[in-house]
Amino acid sequence: MEKRICTIERNSPVAPGCLRMSLTAEESLLHRCGQFVEVAVPGQYLRRPISVSLSEEGRLTLLYKVVGKGTAALAALKPGDKLDLLTGLGNGFDSSACRGKALLVGGGIGVAPLLQLCRDLRAAGREVSAILGFNTAAEILLREELEALGARVTVATMDGSAGIRGLVTDALQEAGADYDQAYVCGPMPMMRALYPLLPDASEFSLEERMGCGTGLCFGCTVQTTEGPRRICHDGPVFKKTQLPW
């Protein structure tokens, strides 16, 4: 964990209710894929956890959805504004666990951390396919970015306005995906539906309402096969075998 005061470089809409924020700092902002930051939001007591979507030496990119007061306050910030961040939180995905072909599955705003993961996998020469699920075509995020990295992307929408109609589980069966290692991030019901369909080594990035994001408050506990674990401290990424679903 490091505390950083960053400068907002860009904070603009990418889909209805969703924004991309890029932040810069003099110091390193390097993150492992799947790690997150805790952002101090004007007017809110607690920080808000947001996944790192892309991390470069002096720059971070976040992708977030406005769902309440905290994220609304984030959306109101302008380029040039300062933001106080706790960086480098959580364990992240283990991209080196993939020895062959990778499958990424994301739902809604949960696709955010898959971008850096895809980049790391591609840099290691892995073949990557991705299944992304959204409610409707207008909400699609990161398709072009992942394709630009050379991933084969399948989109599923609930209303059928783009790609396969239905859930990512439908797309998984329809696409007959060919992969050795799967990585998942999205809403809990989606992850639970995917759980029985994916191999034991699959990695799931979990979410829970957080107090601190740094392991101090025991607010974000999940039951695992190894006992209670703090999602912010021992996760957010857990292997399928750790989840007693």
Binding site: Y45, R209, M210, T214, L216, F218, G219, C220, T221, P228
Partner: protein, 303 residues
């Protein structure tokens, strides 16, 4: 500008009065790589019960103006893990005094846990929490009735010769009656306050925000309540007080000490900023200089 920021708490010399509060500093060693734990005056460990506990279902945390609600529900690995594993590990990482925080669901449970804490060389102070609002049987019930608080204190006193602090709830009509009951049974000191019982509702979903419905309110918003409680108890009792509730700055700490606290616990502020305790310690000398204070010990209870 050399300022004396040390204090003596129930016979133990603390290099400064800043103590992370129970339940807001993890198991104690999470921040070991972020700052030197030896900078802290002492460390209050997570609330511990006889048996390991998962705690309450999630969500356990709710944002509020000036603070938060928590309903963690005493998640902890149990007293045997505390004395056999957590406290010794922490002792190997730092030499700052460690405060075990004990909870229970019966007088005997408090007693057994205190005996085990007493036998653990790594633990310097035993703090008995009779004020947790987030467990349904016991917890705060022992801290809202003078006779029950007295009974727990008596049992804990039998169990340990280490400095014994009783941590009190603000959710009572007269906190001094409880405080005096604990003092009369031989407590060496009092910690106050624990959280205030609160609740939030998600008006869109028409449901409580917390899975437990209610939770404990803490953070800067409770600071005036804590100052009032500490001051009332300081006037009513002779034993030392660890002040707690809403402290977020060196100025808050000095106010708490003027109200009557010998040492000060910092809780919610750690959740917002894990570096809150070292930041308060660093800020102390300059604030003391502004206020014409040479020795922190001199301002205890002057108001």
């Amino acid at each position: 500008m050399v300022k004396d920021i040390s204090v003596t708490l129930a016979g133990i010399c603390l290099k400064n009065p800043v103590i992370p509060a129970s339940g807001t500093f993890g198991l104690g060693y999470e921040m070991a790589e972020v700052f030197a734990l030896d900078r802290l005056g002492a460390i209050a460990l997570k609330g511990t019960t006889l048996e390991p506990r998962f705690g309450n279902p999630t969500p356990r945390i709710a944002e509020c103006t000036g603070g938060l609600l928590n309903a963690v529900g005493l998640q902890n690995p149990g007293i045997d893990a505390l004395v056999g594993d957590v406290a010794p590990k922490l002792r190997s990482l730092c030499s700052t005094p460690l405060i075990a925080n004990i909870s229970g669901f019966s007088v005997d449970e408090f007693g057994i846990c205190c005996e085990k804490a007493d036998a653990c060389a790594a633990i310097d102070i035993v703090e008995v929490n009779v004020s947790c609002p987030n467990v349904h049987k016991g917890g705060m019930a022992f801290g809202t009735d003078p006779a029950a608080a007295a009974e727990v204190t008596r049992r804990a006193r039998k169990a340990t010769r280490k400095p014994l602090f009783i941590k009190l709830s603000p959710n009572v009509t007269d906190i001094t009656a409880i405080a005096r009951a604990c003092e009369d049974e031989g407590a060496d000191g009092l910690t106050l306050i624990n959280t205030l019982l609160g609740m939030r509702i998600d008006i869109r979903r028409r449901k409580p925000v917390l899975a437990n419905r209610t939770g404990g309110f803490s953070g800067p918003a409770v600071f005036p309540v804590a100052i009032r409680c500490v001051n009332q108890v300081a006037k009513a009792c002779r034993i030392p007080i660890i002040g707690c509730g809403g402290v977020s700055s060196a100025e808050d700490l000095i106010e708490m000490m003027m109200a009557g606290a010998t040492a000060v616990q910092v809780g919610s502020a750690n959740l917002r900023d894990p570096l809150a305790c070292p930041a308060i310690i660093d800020a102390l000398p300059a604030v003391m200089e502004q206020l014409g204070i040479e020795k922190l010990q001199d301002i205890i209870g002057i108001v």
